[in-house]
């Protein structure tokens, strides 16, 4: 069973990602975080195969959460998802320890491929 945590403050985006993951992966459990604090809390208190997080969220945002998650559980893969273009933020995200960065406009295919790639690498 694949365990995926998604963090985005827009409920309709979370719903879309959840639906996409349920369609694409046969055995998957998806949990959601609506803000930075919930993301950090869930990320550190449970085991995840991958965390998919937005950058802009109330309470500090994706980069802040990424730093906290990587300090405590460096092996949990984090994929950053953003409306910002990759050329502006991808490098900063990977420097901060993220396993990947994708632009929201490349969804849905981009997300599924990125998740598969990151999980394969971890094995």
């Amino acid at each position: 069973m694949l365990r995926i945590l998604i963090a985005d403050d827009h409920d309709i985006v979370r719903q879309g990602i959840r639906q996409l993951l349920l369609e694409e992966f046969t055995s998957v459990q998806v949990e959601e975080a609506i803000d930075t604090a919930t993301l950090i809390d869930l990320a550190l208190s449970q085991d995840w195969d991958i965390i998919v997080s937005d950058l802009v969220m109330p309470g500090g945002g994706g980069f802040y959460a990424l730093e906290k998650i990587k300090q405590k559980t460096p092996n949990t893969p984090v994929l950053i998802l953003s409306t910002h273009p990759a050329e502006q933020y991808a490098q900063r995200a990977t420097k901060a320890g993220a396993e990947g960065f994708i632009n929201k406009s490349t969804l849905p295919n981009g997300l599924v491929n990125a998740i598969q790639e990151i999980i394969e690498k971890k094995k």
């Binding site: 827009h10 309709i12 985006v13 719903q15 879309g16 639906q19 929201k104 969804l107 849905p108």
Partner: protein, 209 residues
């Protein structure tokens, strides 16, 4: 049978919205459009009960698309959704003929209520928008300067404020550079602002971009 057309440039938002609607209306027919051009041709080619349209899509803005939809199908209810705070845009889109306005934060909670209201031929407004509407009654002197802009001027204003050049805006809105320049000077005159940086500062202060 309920036929709903969803226009948003983010596939994941369309997917989420579709899912929420289908949970409530399993037999609904959902059409999708990724930009304003596809939205307009779908409106012209097919019959819909409701259009749900994002305010910000590549190319023409949602406001521009709304005007065109109202021209092509005046009785088709259009619900506009946006990432922007409700109080800044709601009045403008309602004035332009939209049947409702939803901030994307509220989509999940309010979309079904909004669809039901629109089906009754009524407008859907959230309590915070109703409050804003009430507070504007009889207060013409306090109209903010961006509210005096026409819809097209407002689109150009937002693009200028977000750092786009006149030629980029001309290309994006399919206008000539001269027309955009004319809009620019009219916007600055109406708003009493002398530079693009001033427009940017105003837009940031009012949370318009």
């Amino acid at each position: 049978m309920l036929k709903i057309l969803i226009a948003d440039d983010h596939a994941i938002v369309r997917k989420g919205l579709k899912q929420v609607i289908l949970e409530e209306y399993p037999s609904a027919v959902i059409g999708e459009a990724a930009d304003a051009e596809a939205l307009l041709s779908q409106v012209i080619e097919n019959e819909w009960n409701i259009v749900i349209c994002d305010m910000n899509m590549p190319g023409r803005s949602g406001l521009d698309a709304l005007n065109q939809i109202k021209h092509a199908a005046p009785n088709l209810p259009v619900l506009i959704m946006s990432m922007y705070p409700e109080d800044q845009y709601a009045l403008r889109v309602l004035k332009a003929g939209a049947s409702g306005y939803l901030g994307k934060d509220h989509v999940h909670d309010d979309i079904i209520k909004a669809i039901q209201t629109l089906q009754l031929g009524k407008k859907f407004i959230t309590p915070s928008i109703a409050e804003k509407l009430a507070s504007t009654l009889g207060q013409d002197t306090s109209v903010q300067s961006h509210e005096t802009l026409s819809d097209r001027e407002f689109d150009v204003f937002k693009l200028l404020a977000s750092g786009k050049s006149v030629s980029e805006i001309a290309a994006q809105l399919s206008l000539s550079a001269t027309t955009v320049s004319t809009y620019r000077s009219r916007i600055m005159e109406k708003m009493g602002i002398q530079s693009n940086a001033g427009l940017t500062r105003y837009a940031l202060e009012k949370k318009l971009i």
